[in-house]
């Protein structure tokens, strides 16, 4: 029988969706039976106590976790998040229940051996509960005690060749889509750039000195599979400069409803009867900038007005491809809702070459300028997006030494005034009054 009665949690299992409560119960049972004969270094009944404290939180309508503390591993200022239960007598198994963030590999590629090794370690030295993956992208290991932290860190780094991720006021673990390894839409090698910058900025990842968190995310194309545009302080989105490549024969196959050319790559096939494919309704009319037309069996795209939204390419992947001159757009300042509500990234660089040959020099130069500005100017706990709002986009252009471009303009300005800086005005803001009076009476 379960250690604690959990009627409120049991109710959560009755819904139509898979329930984390069922998962916790399953893991509690696995630990109780211990058929694998694991030498547990963490209380065997920690999952039962976790269910118990959660039930109590629902009953009281308040949390029973204290968070924060000095837990960490030697030399690292991140990667471990301290959690302590404030009812340790009732729930000794979760008195300390710290979280570890483990830096996931680029593109989240694993071998089964790697996953088994991680789980062997985590079942032995932790609760065995994981979150694959956290919002930042890390493998999240949920629940261990303070004495286990260094042991786990040692085994991870020495035996499994695996580093911790970021937490606190650090660079957080960079995350990417699987990019060119599997996806034909990818406009640059997201995995290489993600891996390179993770190594390049190890010090920023592990030794906190930022005003707050900072996230990089890498999407190979504007489909934004890792949601970089909404969830990273600096987002790198693959794009192209030249024209969308069109295979007119293939376009016509789509139009003729050839079964080998299902729209959306067949992704929605079978869910219901979508009827015949209609290029006008499903592609042309949905182009956000109305820059396409289909006439006399020919598709025309006015590429100068295409915003690279990917819609037409997603619908007809066998007929359309991104152009060949590829790179990335860089956006600044997205964040999830905390203080000021959610915020999307602002476009800073419309096109940046992604060049591994010079160690991504253009990109690292830009990052360094942005960090210097943010570290100097931001208040404590101010994200770069909030600083951008407070000091203005013009300031960001100044510190990054970039010129204003039409792509930076969101809508025509509402304010007729122009603010000049003193160095932009011939002679500055001081004037010789005598000289002035020669031409103008009082």
């Amino acid at each position: 029988m379960a250690k604690h009665e959990t009627p409120l949690l049991d109710q959560l299992e009755s819904g139509p969706w898979p329930s984390f409560v069922s998962d916790l119960k399953q893991q509690a049972e696995v630990r109780a039976k211990n058929e694998a004969g694991i030498e547990f270094q963490m209380p065997q009944d920690c999952c039962e106590d976790l269910l118990g404290v959660l039930e109590l939180s629902y009953k009281h309508g308040r949390t029973h976790w204290k968070h924060g503390g000095i837990v960490g591993v030697f030399g690292y200022g991140g990667g471990v998040i301290g959690r302590y239960c404030d009812q340790p007598e009732m729930f000794p198994g979760v008195e300390a229940f710290h979280t570890l963030r483990v830096n996931q590999p680029a593109g989240k590629y694993y071998t089964t051996k790697y996953l088994r090794d991680i789980m062997e370690l985590w079942n032995r030295r932790g609760s065995g509960l994981t979150n694959m993956h956290g919002a930042t992208g890390d493998i999240v290991l949920l629940g261990t005690t303070t004495p286990q932290l260094e042991e786990i860190f040692f085994e991870l780094t020495h035996r499994l060749n695996q580093d911790l991720g970021g937490s606190g006021s650090n660079l957080r673990t960079p995350a990417d889509c699987l990019g060119q390894s599997r996806c034909e839409f990818a406009c640059y090698d997201t995995q290489d750039l993600c891996h390179f910058l993770t190594n390049e900025y190890q010090d920023e990842l592990h030794r906190p000195a930022f005003p707050y968190k900072f996230k990089f995310k890498f999407d190979g194309c504007p489909n934004c599979c890792v949601a970089s545009i909404a969830r990273s302080d600096m987002s790198f989105i693959g794009t192209w400069k030249d024209d969308i490549r069109i295979d007119q024969d293939a376009v016509n196959k789509y139009v003729e409803n050839d079964p080998a050319y299902p729209p959306e790559g067949g992704a929605h096939k079978g869910s219901r009867d979508w009827g015949e494919f209609d290029i006008e309704k499903e592609v042309i009319d949905l182009c956000p900038t109305h820059c396409m037309k289909f006439e006399n069996k020919k598709l025309y795209i006015d590429d100068a007005n295409c915003t690279r939204c990917m819609h037409c390419i997603n619908v007809m992947p066998r007929a359309l491809k991104p152009g060949k001159e590829t790179g990335c757009s860089i956006l600044i300042g997205a964040k999830a809702p905390i203080l000021d509500g959610a915020q999307m990234g602002s476009l800073l660089v419309p096109f940046m070459p992604v060049n591994a040959e010079n160690d991504y020099e253009e990109i690292t130069d830009l990052i360094d300028k942005i960090w210097d500005w943010w570290m100097e100017e931001a208040k404590n706990r101010e994200r770069v997006g909030e600083l951008l709002k407070r000091q203005g986009f013009q300031k960001l252009l100044e510190v990054t030494e970039l010129k204003a471009l039409p792509q930076h303009v969101q809508y025509p300005r509402e304010n007729p005034y122009v603010f000049w800086r003193e160095d932009e005005v011939p002679g500055g803001f001081t004037r010789d009054i005598k000289e002035f009076r020669k031409f103008h009476q009082r």
Binding site: G68, G168, S169, A209, M375
Partner: protein, 85 residues
């Protein structure tokens, strides 16, 4: 780099004195608070020195998970007595 930041002993003393002077009201500090101790230096230079002090166990990190702060090693409030005297 300023002479103060360059001189490990003097820099450590300056940071410890700064923290002790405020110890009645605070035990945890944001990284940026140390900018006042080294007004002539770049934050990224200060970072190296402050983090060395953590390695040398003069200072220690305190983390809430989302924010990291610094305090004297072994001093100040730990998780068990956060927010209480």
């Amino acid at each position: 780099m300023s002479d103060l930041l360059n001189d490990k002993e003097a820099a450590t003393k300056a940071v410890v004195d700064f923290i002790k002077a405020k110890s009645k009201t605070k035990s945890k500090f944001y990284f940026k608070d140390f900018a006042k101790v080294f007004p002539d230096d770049k934050l990224r230079a200060i970072k190296k020195v402050i983090n060395q002090m953590v390695k040398d166990e003069v200072l220690e990190y305190w983390s809430s998970g989302s924010t990291t702060m610094y305090g004297l090693a072994g001093q100040g409030k730990q998780h068990a007595s956060e927010g209480e005297e």
